[in-house]
């Protein structure tokens, strides 16, 4: 960790302005950033601590949705009665992530901005285009079991580790941001996280000095809300694959995947296949997948997991 200066801005606008300075970084729960700073994967020279900003409430929106403050903790969001009732996929995704202690600290905005858990990204002796642009990707051809099977590039095969983000994608959430100049923006979840392409170090649609102020959930989506996370141990592990799904009577619905790509993976066109079953849906969802020998199982796993979800939904009708 390198020395850094620290400030606690008094307002979101001040925070956004401070974050726009070179070498500055926003910090909320710090559950990922501090680890990355200790390893010198992140080397901010200035930390802007947003914890004092009053962005920690969940409010109803005028059109029947919810506005989740950027600093609402993962624990509080998962436990909110409205979320549990109307957006159960989100609550279920949240409680499947990390541990109780981490969820107490982790925030809604921070969860979206956590970085990949690719082991080569974490080892500073290894080349990594995400960590050191242009240095190469040591994961390709290496230990890829956890890594992306679709949407990856020659530069990067990392996955996004968040469970929450997969649920937000299936819910069509929007991310509300504030810039240093005071302008607000709403970014659809579909556009918030990027595919790696040639610039895997650029992970989101945020610009320098953009502060996430809230996540907006649209009106609830009816149906059976499921989040199924498959992993190597029962708790406290990242997903091999995860499936967020909202299944309506008759088999229509929505589905998004975690653990397969650089972002939560959803292909709306594939959802028209849901009534035809898991195989057809998966084929469409993962069309163009380029897995390695070690992670090709993820395709089978997605299909089998989705099949179990659809079968459960049929049984519950």
């Amino acid at each position: 960790m390198i020395p850094f200066t620290y400030e606690r801005p008094g307002s979101p606008a001040e925070a956004a302005a401070a974050a726009a300075k070179p070498g500055a970084k926003l910090i909320a729960g710090g559950t990922n950033l501090l680890d990355l700073m200790k390893l010198e994967i992140e080397t901010p020279v200035h930390l802007v601590d947003v914890n004092g900003l009053a962005l920690d409430t969940i409010e109803a929106t005028g059109d029947g949705g919810l506005r989740i403050g950027a600093l609402v903790s993962n624990t509080d969001l998962a436990a909110d009665a409205r979320v549990r009732r109307d957006y159960a996929v989100l609550s279920r995704a949240l409680v499947s992530g990390a541990s109780g202690q981490l969820r107490n600290k982790a925030t809604t905005a921070g969860n979206l901005l956590q970085r990949t858990r690719c082991p080569y990204f974490y080892d500073t002796a290894q080349p990594c285009n995400k960590r050191s642009p242009g240095s190469g990707c040591s994961a390709i051809g290496g230990m890829t079991r956890q890594l992306a099977i679709i949407g990856a590039s020659e530069a990067c095969i990392a996955t996004h580790p968040s469970d929450m983000a997969v649920a937000l994608r299936v819910l069509d959430a929007e991310i509300e941001t504030l810039s240093g100049e005071g302008t607000t923006r709403r970014i659809p979840m579909a556009e918030f996280h990027r595919l790696p392409g040639d610039t895997p170090e650029i992970e989101t649609a945020l610009n320098a000095g953009n502060l996430i102020t809230a996540v907006i959930l649209p009106r609830p989506v009816p149906g059976r809300h499921v989040y199924r996370k498959v992993r190597d141990r029962a708790s406290y592990a990242f997903a091999l694959v995860s499936v967020a799904a909202i299944i309506e009577d008759g088999g229509r619905g929505r589905v998004a995947l975690g653990g397969v790509a650089h972002k939560p993976w959803r292909v709306e066109a594939a959802e028209s296949e849901l009534a035809r079953g898991a195989r057809a849906t998966t084929a469409r969802l993962l069309e163009g997948a380029r897995p390695s020998r070690d992670n090709a199982f993820k395709i089978t796993l997605v299909e089998r997991t989705l099949d179990a979800i659809l079968s459960d939904a049929r049984g519950a009708q």
């Binding site: 020395p3 082991p119 051809g141 190597d232 029962a234 708790s235 199982f297």
Partner: protein, 736 residues
């Protein structure tokens, strides 16, 4: 005291304190966070500076240029130690590779520099300023690829001969009406104890004091003395509390050496802990194995040929994983073959971890036994019973000192409800889950080791025990106190136990499940000496004096124990040494493991539902701490079965998943109901305590029992550990 004839009746047989399920006497210190672990010896070594270790960024090659100028100029930096500045260093007696590398690099994350600074943060930040240019050389990192180059390792006391043969294995195997010939693999594994390797070093006039986390105080002291080319008598090692070792802290490691070098360079105490991402590649690990097991049997299930070969790899000069050792002893069979082959690999050095040899060996052998039982259409419990032996099958003139394996198997089967198992795989469903039962035998040797202790009696009747024995979380403090209390006839609260200091008599130390029996036997020997001196001072005949309730009684006479020391403390010191009872009698511990698993029919996720271990390990000195040992070992067995795996990048030559986020061990949610049954057994051949080891017995066989349960649940046989869902997902039966 030389233990040469089987133990007769002795004071331990009273079992008024020994054998009782007492709480750990160090428990309150640990649960309140007040037990000072190595890195926390603030009071003993105030004003310590902080060292941060830099590990090599390549697996094999040379340092072309090592630039420490920026690090030296960084704020707060006191010194930067490298192989260039450290002075001459030798390699310790247990080490394979130099602990401070350069210019030659032997493995990934081999230490190449220590940055010492006023604060931990300053040291870490400056360590990031060390610039190293390497010249990388090609290396061998893939055991499977190196298998054909493997050779027979040299025989030694621990593993015996690399090859053993009895009868005509090949002929008998070829002639056997029922045969099994399968190959199994176990991965590299990391100890991943909670407390990292950590040390504080201080120099005073050429004498080194080392507060460290070590399982074997004397090995550590000799290791540092040899490495620094100094007299052993100038080294003082202190290690009272250890946060787990599992074989990873048996001897000198980089933290202790670098702390000593840092302290010598700065004239300040220096503390060094290996940061977590460094441990997997910097320290030792359990090496991967490839194991071929061949079994031949008659149609009624009598083994006529048993063969077990194992391939593993290590650095040049290293040793093999002794995965065939149990196969030399566990089952009968007139024609036998075992062999170990060792390949040279440039991965970090392999060494002992959690029942080395038997743990990975049983992972293979006990799946093979399950497969063979199925071929024979025999119940796996019955198949094992039919092939029991009461003598060392390679040397039939050597009986086992005690061998209640059949009782372990039968007790376990009865208690677990084994008769309810459907032998046909894939038949039991519970909703989405496929449910199966599996079992395995458990086996681990008892190792006699010389062990010393000193006991003191003061004028208040209090007993103090001093030995360099360690408590690595096992309960050594408590069982040693129990032994002294039993021997001297005092209450537990009248005994103080001092451990882990190299000024105390040399003990067996902690490892290989040999600590408890040997260390308490050393205390027993010292207490015999103390009893004799007490009796002499009181004018009693020591042979018939009875020590109980703080009194010494002989015939009609009695005197308070304390009165013997009224004119001054009485000190007695002795050690237990062993004759050849372990040569005339094979001493081993036995058990059985039973496991119920559920496998998700869709995703293949495995959840262990129930576990039972039945253990026969001689006298159980404290059933509470012994049970904790066994359930911990069973948990490690689940880890070995389902998730633990250091993944080798065979291009770059290192273990990639080198932190606790990516090297997975079981969490609470993975561990179900666990039960442990100890058979009521004493083994008079083992020691005056009539005890044997038990901790590692608890791991040996568990992983195979899980694998066999998964087979019973699904019909899918996996022979490569860990058994992760990707290895069998496409073979799962249809649940719907």
């Amino acid at each position: 005291m030389k233990f040469q004839t089987p133990a007769g009746h002795n004071p331990i047989d009273r079992m008024s304190v020994v054998g009782q399920p007492l709480d750990r006497i160090d428990g309150p210190l640990k649960t309140t966070g007040t037990a000072p672990y190595a890195y926390e010896q603030h009071d003993a070594a105030p004003d310590a500076a902080y060292g941060h270790v830099v590990g090599a960024g390549i697996a094999k090659g040379r340092i072309r240029r090592l630039d420490i100028k920026a690090a030296e100029r960084a704020p707060g930096v006191l010194a930067v130690i490298t192989a260039d500045t450290a002075g001459p260093l030798e390699v310790g007696p247990h080490n394979t590779v130099p602990l401070l590398g350069g210019p030659e690099i032997r493995h990934y994350h081999q230490a190449v520099a220590l940055v010492v600074a006023e604060s931990f943060e300053a040291a870490r930040a400056a360590a990031g300023r060390v610039r190293i240019e390497y010249e990388a050389h090609a290396g061998a990192y893939d055991l499977e690829a190196a298998r054909t180059t493997a050779t027979a390792p040299e025989a030694n006391a621990q593993m015996g001969e690399p090859d053993t043969q009895v009868g005509d294995f090949l002929g008998a195997f070829a002639d056997a009406p029922v045969r099994l010939d399968e190959t199994y693999t176990t991965p590299d594994q990391s100890h991943m104890m909670m407390e990292p390797h950590a040390s504080i070093a201080r120099w005073d006039d050429g004498t080194l004091t080392l507060w460290t986390s070590t399982q074997m105080v004397e090995w550590c002291a000799r290791g540092i003395a040899k490495t620094l080319r100094m007299d052993r008598s100038k080294v003082h090692v202190i290690s009272p509390y250890i946060g787990g070792g599992f074989g990873g802290k048996l001897f000198l490691r980089a933290d202790a050496l670098l702390a000593a070098l840092g302290a010598r360079a700065t004239g300040r105490p220096v503390k060094v802990a290996l940061h977590r991402p460094l441990i997997a590649n910097n320290s030792t690990h359990r090496p991967a194995t490839i194991q071929r097991v061949r079994l031949g049997a008659t149609r009624d299930g009598v083994i006529t040929a048993i063969g077990h070969e194992s391939w593993s790899g290590d650095q040049p000069g290293g040793g093999p994983e002794t995965a065939v050792s149990q196969t030399r002893l566990l089952y009968a069979g007139a024609n036998r073959l075992t062999a170990m082959r060792l390949a040279v690999l440039d991965l970090p050095e392999g060494n002992s971890m959690r029942a080395p040899g038997e743990a990975p060996g049983m992972m293979a052998l006990e799946i093979a036994m399950d497969e063979m039982a199925e071929k024979l259409r025999l119940d796996p419990v019955e198949f094992r019973i039919r092939n029991d032996t009461q003598v060392d099958p390679e040397n039939p003139e050597r009986p086992f000192s005690a061998r209640p394996l059949i009782t372990c198997l039968q007790t376990g089967a009865a208690q677990f409800g084994w008769q309810r198992r459907d032998a046909r795989p894939g038949r039991v469903k519970d909703g989405q889950w496929l449910v199966g039962l599996g079992m395995a035998a458990a086996f681990r040797n008892n190792l006699p080791m010389t062990s010393g202790a000193r006991v003191r009696l003061d004028g208040d009747g209090r007993i103090t025990v001093e030995t360099d024995m360690t408590d690595i979380g096992t309960g050594s403090y408590t069982i040693i106190a129990q032994t002294a209390a039993e021997m001297m006839g005092v209450r537990m609260d009248q005994v103080e136990v001092r451990l882990g200091d190299s000024t105390y008599p040399v003990s067996a130390g902690s490892g290989g499940q040999f600590g408890a029996n040997n260390a308490t036997s050393g205390v027993y020997a010292a207490c015999i000496g103390l009893r004799e001196e007490v009796a002499r001072r009181l004018g009693f005949n020591s042979q018939d004096a009875d020590f109980a309730d703080g009194q010494v009684r002989s015939g009609n006479r009695s005197a308070p124990l304390a009165s013997a020391a009224a004119r001054g403390e009485i000190v007695a010191e002795d050690r237990i040494e062993y004759g050849d009872l372990h040569k005339t009698h094979q001493q081993s511990t036995f058990g059985s493991h039973f496991v119920e698993v559920a496998v998700d029919g869709a995703t293949g996720e495995v959840r262990v539902r129930r576990m039972l271990a039945v253990c026969a390990a001689g006298r159980i000195l404290n059933p509470k701490s012994a049970r904790s040992q066994v359930i911990g070992a069973m948990t490690m067995g689940v880890g070995a079965a389902l998730m633990e795996h250091l993944k080798v990048d065979t291009r770059r030559g290192f273990f990639v998943n080198h932190d606790l986020a990516s090297y997975e061990v079981p969490v609470h949610a993975d561990i179900p109901h666990q039960e442990v049954i100890f058979l009521d057994e004493t083994d008079p051949m083992s020691s005056p305590m009539k005890a044997k080891g038990v901790g590692e017995l608890g791991i040996c066989g568990v992983a195979a029992a899980v694998a066999n349960a998964i087979y019973n649940a699904t019909g899918v046989r996996v022979r490569d550990y860990p058994i992760t869902l990707d290895t069998y997902l496409d073979r799962l039966p249809d649940v719907a």
